[in-house]
Symmetry: C2
Subunit: 508 residues, 2 copies
Amino acid sequence: MSRALSPRTVRLHAEDNVVVAVDTVDVGASAGGVVARQRVPRGHKLATVAIPAGAPVVKFGQIIGFATVDIAPGDHIHSHNCAFQTFDRDYAYGADARNDMVLPPELQATFEGYRRPDGKVGTRNYVAILSSVNCSASVARFMAEAINRSGVLADYPTIDGVVPFVHGTGCGMAASGEGFEVLKRTQWGYATNPNVAAVLLVGLGCEVFQIARMKDEYGIVEGDHFQTMTIQETGGTKKTIEQGMERIRAMLPIAARARRETVPASELMLALQCGGSDGYSGITANPALGAAADILVEHGGTAILSETPEIYGAEHLLTRRAESRAVGEKLVERIRWWEDYTAKAGGSMDNNPSPGNKAGGLTTILEKSLGAAAKGGTTTLRGVYEYAERVDRKGFVFMDTPGYDPVAATGQVAGGANVLCFTTGRGSAYGCKPTPSIKLATNSDIFNRMIDDMDINCGDILEGVSIADKGREIFNKILQVSSGEKSKSEELGYGDNEFVPWQIGATM
Amino acid sequence: MSRALSPRTVRLHAEDNVVVAVDTVDVGASAGGVVARQRVPRGHKLATVAIPAGAPVVKFGQIIGFATVDIAPGDHIHSHNCAFQTFDRDYAYGADARNDMVLPPELQATFEGYRRPDGKVGTRNYVAILSSVNCSASVARFMAEAINRSGVLADYPTIDGVVPFVHGTGCGMAASGEGFEVLKRTQWGYATNPNVAAVLLVGLGCEVFQIARMKDEYGIVEGDHFQTMTIQETGGTKKTIEQGMERIRAMLPIAARARRETVPASELMLALQCGGSDGYSGITANPALGAAADILVEHGGTAILSETPEIYGAEHLLTRRAESRAVGEKLVERIRWWEDYTAKAGGSMDNNPSPGNKAGGLTTILEKSLGAAAKGGTTTLRGVYEYAERVDRKGFVFMDTPGYDPVAATGQVAGGANVLCFTTGRGSAYGCKPTPSIKLATNSDIFNRMIDDMDINCGDILEGVSIADKGREIFNKILQVSSGEKSKSEELGYGDNEFVPWQIGATM
Ligand SMILES: [Ca+2]
Ligand SMILES: [Ca+2]
Ligand SMILES: [Ca+2]
Ligand SMILES: [Ca+2]
Ligand SMILES: [Ca+2]
């Protein structure tokens, strides 16, 4: 453990009354602009101003607890002088909602995107082969492989690829209820994501997830951009591949007509993800991504926070930021749903700081959850969505998903996300299609060790780069990647195996 | 509806006292060796001998109900004269267990298989790349694609392929309990299936399904045939692909040493599957496959029946055939488990004949379930296994799985199945690796329509081919395919997308 004479600290937000120690701060050392009155271990908090008993302790620009005694500048803040009050049972709907400033269109940043017929904007231009059921997964892949092998895509440089989105479910499931609805929304969400120019949906024929029923329930009319077929109607594997390839070949010139044009950043819908988190996630990459999300919201765009299990027990963080009671209550309703879901599976929700968390400097469940939620920034919560539901609000929103990366991201992409940022400390290799994924390393070590996978190093925040500057760097990267620059995971070819719809309910 | 003068019927088993009408049988027509006393619609049953009130009605060689009145030869048998008695609440453990004849080794049929160091015999010789979690799925596929593209496999004609077995789970799950154990058994079952010569298991590093823990719990020592690595330890995607390919290249000459030799049919472990069933399944392909299973058991081999939801409510069929009370009770315990599993998911188990089933000629739940269970033949039940559990008994056994084809077959292959037969009426395109799958069409129409997918037509049973003859044809095909002849689904390249471990529990 280093004991620097000028120990490093991180200020996570301008409104904070604490800094986080990067190096251990000894008594008498100068850190964060004050002189330490107690020893502050790495990862722990140091008061930078006086905080009277009962006043909020603010980290990430948000309340993580309240002073239980008068706290002086330079004091170590932890369980001995900071705690929840009744805050943990008070949803205080909308208490912290603000009239967030949104720049007028002429001042908004821009990127080069594909404007679709429905007005939405894509950052990529893919042709998708969806499968209704695992039983047609191989056929979907065979078609995509044959198209790619044929070399025909060389004639269409504006098409990013023909991608099979296959999965393990679609039959042996209840034909109604939550599990069915989730799969239906996910499929239709991928089909209509603005990064997808045209779609072939291929089924077996006798599966529970009937294509005809999906078309009926959404009022889908087949045409140049969306077609369906089944193996059983077509007469087996070979004929399905042949006829499917013909249909895709006919879609290619149509998809290839798309041209990038200059559009405002307000057309971006950013999926926020973290996976393989470490002790740095909450003080480097996540708050930096939150700063980028705040900039995007300022420019009229949308940022989707998810991963409900990671904010469990601290949903008050979000209900306070809700624009209305209804928005906040929808979140609480999802929290209750999760309690029921995990109880039925014989588990339970528990996101309290563990002894290890406490030793690492996390004082309250709010602070722990803020480490994950920090990537959502600080603006007003404009909407709460169920998994894979179409996101129809601008600004900061929440979508209910598991924390498991591919399942969470699949829901966000189905909701309409056209760009994704993923923070990781231990080193995830995640990549996505049709939505480009930008990978943010929480520390310089993992950035350098996995240099071929990581797009941005947030570890330099520990060396003095400010969260605000890093947020601007991320925002600029989002604009570049959205304009066509390939992210690292795209260069590597990721995205053909990460379509994982959330499976809810029994497999029969 | 045809009304032939000599209407066709099918006798499903030599011990049956009924035949099934293939064409409608009019009063006075000669059918099944008797003269019809009532009109018998297609798919319905006709008594071929006198059945006194209280005596069993036998179809598939097994009791489907009891006469409620005296039944004369030529009578139509249905709900009006046939019903359960208390049979439906009496498990009668072992009542029908027999000392099934098993041929001495010198009289057993043979095939050409790969004898493995542990004594088990493979029918194929694959190198497997397993992934511990979806987060390493793409890397596993990248390795396999690079190996295949490199052309190196041309030097090893005895290797059937380098196959990535990837899936959607492995994290965002409970770290103990049923869901974890099922995934663990499935992974290790694939790694040790005799059709797999060597294995590379690749993980991300921070997932719930920890490779180190799996090695520890099974006492696995790495060596020439089994190696593991993680993306995080190796330093990212590119290095993992490079080092993984090196390891696979080193495994290839070792795997390639395997040579086929003549071995007895007792080394075969046959997975029984049906999917996309139709009204003919229960009277053509399923009983024909059951006849083949009976032959295999006679030759000392193993046949695994599964798909618990399809025998639900008629588990008495199997408990009566159990070799001991303990074997029968294990089945009943699984039945109770399913009631709990589906109830927790807000569903219920129900396999009773529907009005449509009844109109089609199915009188009792026993009869309906026998349509599915008929593929298990008629021999004594030697063991009951949980999903993906290693099958260690010869003869006829049951493995608890869902009915959903890829999930069911994945459990059977994990249990050790080295060959698979799959009946289908509506036309499934299923194929499997590492275990070859033989597809049996229940009717000539689907056989001809999907001629590139179907291996054997059982529809000709309706034209007079006997179940026994068709069973011998299937058994011979099993021997040929097990000796290296490619099945249709292998020719088409199926098997890279059908590894679907059963997911039990909440996705967090
Ligand atoms: Ca997370
Ligand atoms: Ca995550
Ligand atoms: Ca079945
Ligand atoms: Ca089925
Ligand atoms: Ca099945």
